[in-house]
């Protein structure tokens, strides 16, 4: 049996108005080669200028990953020939990555695990290439888009852990608002390193690398497929060659891309056209202030402080916007549990059904509070509150107005209800007798009152009055 050792390199495109080193637009665009500047094309004489926004976002991620951030930003050139890289080199960071020696906490099957981050560095994306039978097409829209690469230590031991890390990392990016991290648009991509070693052995085995896996689901499958391949080789007494492999989705296996002997020497050297950019302590502090409480810490808080369940805490924090909404509710004084119930229940099912983000719905935390208050004051029943909520979301009208328009008015008046109860008790003397024999007849009387009042009687009050009056008989 073998221990599996996995390391990940995750590439993620950062959001910004312009590209990392040019003024061309950074954004997804269907029309090829429309967001391109001479700089992206690597025309003779071009020079890079660094996008400050991208630097800021990279620093933000580095900080969120608990990395050491150097006092200056320097870039290096990674040299290789391929048409997706028109300059003939990629501007990246090797000498001094923006984030070094960090960690992130993940949860796998209820266990907390610390994943070590080797580094995170800012670089530029390459162009897209599409290879046809006897020609290739190049789309430079993506060329030069700010790309953040985060490299973990080889410290994961299963595809489950790898996926948990990827999910956690993606959520961090989303919480920080630095990327949309959409795999379907190629914004987040992953290289996986895998090696196997005899169980409990100290010495790492020979690793293989799989490049550019474009979805988390495929990462899982690819890892499992490669583990199988290595296991088979090792248990047959074979040896693993250090090589780069490509995952083949169609046949669910990996193919050799290039062996160690063919490894490219990228001839890194410091980019001479970008003088070191100082990262002052003021600048770093300013960025630190912009980092929100991240998901992991929110879950801990919701469980420990707000006494919410695991499921509730997880659901509420899956998206930062929902978690922020929940916290806005708490700040308005809504009870933790009540807010959690409303949000994880009807509100999230509405979001899922309509496929809208929580920021776009009409029901603000203040309006939710209005609704909850009406229910707590006994003006509407909990069943009615659900109806009102639906109407509020659909008609985009405040709860008070919806209650008026629906003609829902709870009868909270003691005398009105008492009159009906006394009459009903008179009419159903037999049931009063049953009660005295120990039978439960409350539901019948409460139900009858609701029927007569078209559901407008306050159920709690009705039950109380029924009990008082029946006791008198």
């Amino acid at each position: 049996m073998y221990d599996v050792v996995i390391g990940l390199e995750v590439h993620c495109e950062l959001k910004s108005n312009s590209k990392n080193f040019s003024g061309a637009t950074n954004g997804y665009c269907e029309q090829p080669n429309t967001q391109v500047s001479p700089i992206d094309l690597g025309l003779p004489g071009i020079m890079p200028f660094v996008n400050k926004e991208a630097v800021k976002k990279a620093v933000k991620v580095a900080k969120a990953l608990n990395c050491k951030v150097p006092s200056r930003m320097i870039f290096d050139r990674k040299n290789y020939f391929y048409p997706d890289l028109p300059k003939g080199y990629q501007i990246t960071q090797v000498t001094e990555p923006v984030g070094q020696n960090g960690y992130v906490m993940i949860e796998v099957d209820g266990e907390i695990k610390k994943i070590l981050i080797h580094d995170t560095h800012l670089e530029e994306d390459t162009a897209n290439m599409e290879h046809m039978s006897n020609y290739s097409l190049i789309n430079y829209n993506r060329c030069g888009v700010p790309l953040l690469e985060t490299v973990t230590e080889p410290c994961m031991s299963s595809s489950k852990e790898a996926i948990a890390f990827l999910e956690t990392y993606r959520t961090i990016l989303l919480y920080l608002g630095v990327s949309d991290a959409r795999a379907d648009q190629g914004q987040i991509r992953c290289d996986v390193n895998i090696s196997l070693k005899p169980k409990n052995s100290e010495k790492l085995g020979v690793r293989t690398e799989m490049k550019n896996i474009n979805s988390f689901a495929n990462v899982k499958i690819a890892i499992e497929s490669e583990i199988r391949r290595q296991e088979e080789i090792l248990s047959n007494g074979g040896i693993i060659e250090q090589e780069t492999r490509r995952y083949d989705e169609v046949n669910d296996c990996t193919h050799l891309m290039r062996s160690k002997e063919d490894a490219i020497d990228y001839k890194y050297f410091i980019e001479p056209n970008i003088p070191p950019i100082p990262l002052t302590s003021d600048f770093l502090e300013e960025i630190e202030k912009e980092i929100p409480t991240l998901r992991y810490d929110r879950i801990v808080k919701y469980k420990d402080e707000y006494k919410l369940t695991e499921v509730e805490a997880n659901t509420l924090t899956r998206e930062k916007e929902i978690s922020d909404y929940f916290e806005a509710c708490i700040n308005l004084g809504i009870n933790y549990k009540t807010a959690a119930n409303w949000i994880t229940g009807p509100i999230i099912s509405y979001l899922n059904k309509e496929e809208v983000p929580i920021d776009n719905i009409y029901l603000t935390p203040a309006l939710l509070k209005e609704l909850i208050t009406m229910q707590e004051d006994g003006r509407i029943s909990s069943k009615q509150a659900r109806e009102v909520l639906e109407k509020v979301l659909e008609d985009k009208k405040p709860p008070v107005q919806v209650v008026d328009e629906l003609g829902i008015k709870q009868i909270g008046d003691d005398n009105t209800i008492r009159e009906i109860v006394i009459r009903l008790l008179d009419e159903h003397n037999d049931l009063v007798e049953d009660y005295k024999k120990g039978k439960n007849v409350f539901n019948f009387f409460v139900g009858s009152v609701m029927k007569e009042t078209k559901g407008q009687a306050n159920p709690a009050m009705t039950a109380k009055i029924v009990k008082e009056e029946i006791e008198k008989r």
Binding site: M47, P83, K267, N273
Partner: protein, 485 residues
């Protein structure tokens, strides 16, 4: 009446007094360019039509000039004198070109260089060799060969060049004109085809120090496209040229200039050049300079050439990795993408260029980088530190720009003699440290011009120009032109 053989001041006066129009100047420059082209081959492209969108009040407005063919010019062929770019027409403007356009200067043509600016002879351009106006059988030097020749011939009063090792200042010396490269970053490099980014400078050729100041005043300043460009220092260099230089201290390098070293030399041109240099020193002292001989450090001086080659070839392999014929340039043929690029680069570059790329690639290889590339960087730092130490005492380094006159075509040089190792290579010190550095004519040897060079402290472009202007006045070679009889 001719104007193109005059200085900018004189031409300015003629324009302002309506004695001549800008268009007439262009025609004169163009006709001269065409007339000299078959003999001297200064130009890759001579523009057909006069174009001036912006007549204004700058000193350069309406004045024709030439541009080295490695500056990006929208819609105008820009070849860097290389076959791989022989049909390349840029789609954007270099900042220096744009600034001249905005100042109203009139482009006459694009000048020949050593292929990709990598060379010092002016003989490796894809359109043929550039000849020295003072002697057709001699080279003018490079890489900014055509720019130097066009100013020396009186085709234009000024031309732009680029200087990575000595590519402006050496051909200026061989052509008997002024060649100035200011402090690194003073003029934006955006749009200059990068050769070795940490050493590349934009600069100019003129026929007077004052004209070099005029051109630099227009070109300098921060450019958002070049992160290494300097903020404008707010000075007008052309206005402080006559400041008093009394007491300014200059030094020259003993290991290169001391006559004792060459006792056994059988190179009369070298000896005469060095004797003339002593005469220049005497004249400098007469007008108030203090000049001293300084021992620089022979080890450092002998390291100049290998250090330069290591850094420049390494950076060049990366900078010119964009020349694959895929995005632009001459497309190669082949079955795979790799084959197509391989073919384009095999056919597109001369042997010399390929040799330098191989050298650069070797120097950058993982196993060699520490020893070759990084050590070169360390030596560069030591040399710059030595200069800065001397600059605590001295305002400038005064040196003969070359150990002799322009060589004849095919003349072989003894690369390892002190003359070639130090006297022919010291100008690179200016590139290592980004120091402002200017070459001005200082006399003749065998009817060929010789020159001296002044290199000053970083940022003190004004001081260097001021000192050079005073020395130029004392030497009396301002406005030197070689016109065919």
């Amino acid at each position: 009446m001719e104007y193109m053989n005059k200085t900018i001041d004189e031409i300015r006066k003629a324009l302002d007094s309506k004695e001549i129009t800008s268009e007439e100047l262009f025609v004169e420059a163009k006709e001269k360019a065409l007339k000299y082209q078959s003999t001297y081959n200064s130009f890759v492209t001579i523009l057909e039509d006069y174009q001036n969108e912006k007549i204004n009040t700058t000193v350069l407005s309406g004045i024709p000039y030439a541009l080295k063919d490695n500056f990006s010019t929208t819609g105008i062929l820009t070849t860097a004198s290389s076959n791989i770019l022989k049909d390349y027409v840029p789609i954007y403007d270099a900042t220096a070109y744009k600034k001249l356009k905005e100042a109203g200067a009139i482009l006459v043509g694009k000048t020949v260089l050593d292929e990709l600016a990598m060379g010092g002879t002016g003989t490796t351009g894809h359109t043929g060799v550039v000849r020295n106006p003072w002697d057709k059988n001699r080279l003018i030097g490079g890489s900014s060969a055509g720019s130097a020749a066009s100013v020396a011939l009186g085709i234009v009063p000024f031309a732009l060049g680029s200087d990575t090792g000595d590519s402006i200042r050496k051909p200026a010396a061989f052509g008997g004109v002024v060649g100035f490269k200011p402090t690194y970053g003073r003029i934006s490099r955006f749009g200059l085809f990068a050769f070795a980014s940490s050493l590349d400078h934009v600069g100019c050729f003129t026929r007077s120090v004052k004209d070099a100041a005029y051109v630099t005043d227009i070109l300098k300043g921060k450019d958002e496209h070049d992160m290494t460009s300097l903020n404008d220092d707010g000075k007008a260099y052309s206005e402080t040229l006559n400041n008093d230089i009394t007491g300014r201290k200059l030094f020259y390098i003993k290991e290169a200039c001391n006559l004792e070293l060459y006792k056994n030399s059988n190179d009369p041109e070298l000896l005469e050049t060095l004797n003339k240099f002593q005469e220049t020193i005497a004249k400098a002292k007469e007008i108030g300079f203090e000049v001293e001989e300084v021992e620089f450090g022979k080890d450092l001086l002998e390291a100049l050439y290998p250090t330069y080659m290591s850094i420049s070839c390494a950076e060049a392999t990366s900078n010119y990795a964009n020349l694959t014929g895929i995005q632009f340039g001459v497309r190669g043929v082949g079955k795979s993408i790799e084959d197509i690029m391989f073919d384009a680069r095999t056919k597109g570059f001369s042997e010399l260029i390929k040799r330098r790329f191989i050298l650069g690639s070797y120097i950058l290889q993982r196993e060699n980088q520490e020893k070759l590339f990084k050590n070169a960087g360390r030596i560069r730092r030591m040399i710059v530190n030595r200069m800065n130490e001397l600059f605590k005492t001295y305002d400038g380094l005064l040196m003969p720009a070359s150990g002799g006159i322009a060589p004849k075509f095919g003349e072989t040089s003894d690369q390892l003699s002190d003359r070639y190792l130090i006297l022919e290579n010291h100008l690179v010190i200016g590139n290592f440290g980004g120091f402002p550095s200017i070459t001005i004519p200082s006399g003749f040897v065998n009817e060929m011009p010789i020159s001296v060079n002044i290199t000053g402290r970083v940022m003190e472009d004004d001081v260097v120009l001021n000192m050079a202007n005073k020395l130029e006045e004392a030497l009396g070679y301002k406005g030197l032109v070689k016109e065919e009889q």
